[in-house]
């Protein structure tokens, strides 16, 4: 396996940043159908607990394949989930992009995410380190893996009615 540090490829950095910012905008807007379309069929969306890398054999906050992502979105959209009807409003910033690996048509990007949720007039702040593994798809990308490591993931959290 050859990995190339490609942080100096500003054109690629701009392209992946634009993609991830667009994803962030979709999530804040709760445009979940469009978000589902960003994924590869085999992609996994994972929020681990602690610093494990073995997500399959560990308890995660979520570890979603395509079916679980669709079910999760369906739960948000149907209006029967009291925690999502209404959901918290969110505003997030994703930044500090570093491309850590480019191989063939795959790009791995690390970033920092800050999310503020508002519900019941109460605001909460969350922060996480995000890894996207993106696969080139025409002029854009698809998400093949997204790992969000929340700060304090192995401590006391709240319940979440949105995605990171």
């Amino acid at each position: 396996m050859t990995a190339t540090k490609a942080t100096n490829d500003l054109a690629l950095l701009q392209k992946v940043s634009a993609f991830i910012w667009n994803e962030a905008a979709l999530l804040d807007a709760k445009d979940y159908d469009a978000w589902l379309d960003l994924w590869t069929d085999d992609g996994m969306y994972t929020l681990p607990i602690g610093d494990t890398e073995d997500f399959d054999n560990a308890v995660n906050l979520c570890h979603d394949n395509a079916k679980m992502r669709r079910d999760r979105v369906g739960r948000f959209q149907r209006g029967f989930a009291i925690s999502s009807a209404p959901p918290a409003e969110t505003v997030r910033t994703v930044s500090r992009f570093v491309i850590t690996r480019v191989e063939g048509d795959e790009v791995t990007v690390e970033s920092a995410e800050h999310l503020i949720e508002d519900k019941f007039g109460r605001q909460r702040v969350w922060a996480g380190n995000v890894t996207h593994r993106l696969v080139a798809d025409g002029d854009s990308f698809r998400i093949d893996a997204k790992i969000v490591r929340l700060l304090n993931s192995d401590g006391m959290l709240n319940s979440f009615s949105y995605l990171f």
Partner: protein, 420 residues
């Protein structure tokens, strides 16, 4: 003399709960003293401290404690507070160590809490007794790997407090090991702005399930959805097991996981069964493991802070009158097939925790209870459902699956403990 002498006004004989029960800080303080300081409180599962030198942090009521296993394998629970100037001696959530040292002035304690050494002891004089300055220790007993501790030296033994019927249900629950010892696989933790009793009431409340968890039910296959439709089938029950404990039998055919092994394997577990067969497990063991993976058919609520819920442990830790920490502990099979444990973990993630398809909805309604409590202080909270057709059980009443019998069991114990 108890400060709250009119307990009938707080929990009436006809099962109505005063609003102040969820929001009076003085009452909360009294509860921490009279209940959490005086009874057996769950602190850990033995698999969380598996080896000599293993430890983990926990709580007994508001008090931070360390659960540690010493070199002889004996479990100790002690207050996480240096006897010198009160600093916590451990802030690592879990791990392995040979001792605990206070970071402030260097007092060092053994795994059993005994004071081993302190720098420059001479200034305390010749009669300073190290024996009397160990970490404050709690009485500690276990049943089926469940570790409980108490500040009350005079309390009855743990198994007497639980009683034989509770012990029997714990034995049944642990059959989820599928022939292997039960082991903690991980946990979800979240905090909810609610009084601890709001959660205490929830574990044997079947009435809320189809309403609050409708969106979870919609993600199940037909057979599983049908299995969770225990309210309409009406075969289950809820029963007061004495001392505040209660059981809610939702799916009676899953009461004993070793029974009915010849039943067809549910569709959702066919893939797992095939994987286990592929690994060389004989058919009878495949059936036993698969049946265990689905979880037990009941919730068992132990007063005051732990419940056994279908396939996991739920622990509540009171933090303030209107704040409670919740832990959902995933369990699996120690030394069992990885595929079976993975299946259990995925089921756990599906429902439990901050991003589960069930827990956030529970958390939302719990918070709504606390928010609603601000209105209509004169209105009582009703936990009298099903009182009309309860039947006498062995240790306490037994009611319809959706009856609030379990809550009444807890409040009966609450009243008993608050009155002495």
């Amino acid at each position: 003399m108890p400060k709250f002498s009119d307990l009938d006004a707080l929990y009436s004989p006809d099962a109505k709960v005063a609003t102040s029960m969820y929001e009076d800080p003085d009452l909360f303080k009294e509860e921490m003293e009279r209940i959490f300081h005086r009874t057996w409180v769950w602190v850990a599962h033995e698999s969380e401290v598996p080896d000599k030198g293993s430890f983990k942090l926990s709580h007994v009521g508001l008090e931070p404690v360390i659960v540690a296993r010493d070199r002889k394998g004996v479990l100790h629970v002690m207050v996480n507070r240096c006897r010198h100037r009160a600093a916590t001696v451990c802030e690592v959530k879990k791990g392995k160590t040979s001792s605990f040292q206070c970071p402030y002035h260097g007092w060092g304690y053994g795994l059993d809490g005994s004071l081993r050494a302190l720098p420059y002891p001479e200034q305390y004089g010749d009669d300073f007794s190290k024996e009397q300055h160990g970490l404050k220790r709690l009485r500690t007993e276990s049943y089926q790997g469940m570790v409980f501790a108490t500040f009350n030296e005079d309390i009855e033994p743990l198994t007497d407090f639980l009683g034989p019927k509770v012990c029997r249900y714990i034995d049944l629950f642990m059959k989820q090991g599928g022939g292997f010892p039960v082991k903690v696989l991980g946990e979800h933790q979240f905090t909810v702005p609610m009084n601890w009793k709001v959660q205490l009431e929830n574990t044997t409340d079947a009435y809320h399930f189809p309403v609050v968890h409708k969106s979870f039910m919609q993600t199940l296959d037909g057979a599983t959805e049908d299995m969770f439709d225990f309210l309409d089938k009406g075969k289950g029950w809820v029963e007061d097991l004495g001392n505040g404990h209660s059981v809610m039998m939702m799916i009676p055919e899953l009461e004993d996981l070793d029974a009915n092994l010849d039943q067809p394997i549910p569709e959702r577990f066919e893939g797992l069964a095939e994987e286990l067969r592929g690994e060389g497990y004989p058919e009878d063991q495949v059936r036993k493991i698969v049946r265990a993976v689905g979880g037990a058919g009941f919730n068992l609520n132990l007063f005051p802070n732990v419940s056994f819920s279908l396939a996991f442990f739920r622990v509540l830790t009171p933090v303030a009158v209107d704040r409670t920490d919740i832990r959902h502990i995933a369990i699996g099979m120690e030394g069992g097939p990885a595929a079976a444990n993975r299946a259990r973990i995925r089921l756990h993630e599906h429902f439990q925790g901050p991003m589960g398809f069930g827990s956030p909805d529970d958390a939302e309604v719990w918070e709504r209870v606390q928010r609603g409590t601000k209105g209509g202080e004169d209105l009582p909270i009703l936990v009298n459902r099903g009182i009309v057709d309860e039947e006498p059980g062995e240790l306490g009443p037994r009611g319809h699956i959706s009856a609030e019998t379990g809550m009444r069991a807890a409040y009966k114990m609450w009243k008993r403990m608050m009155s002495v």
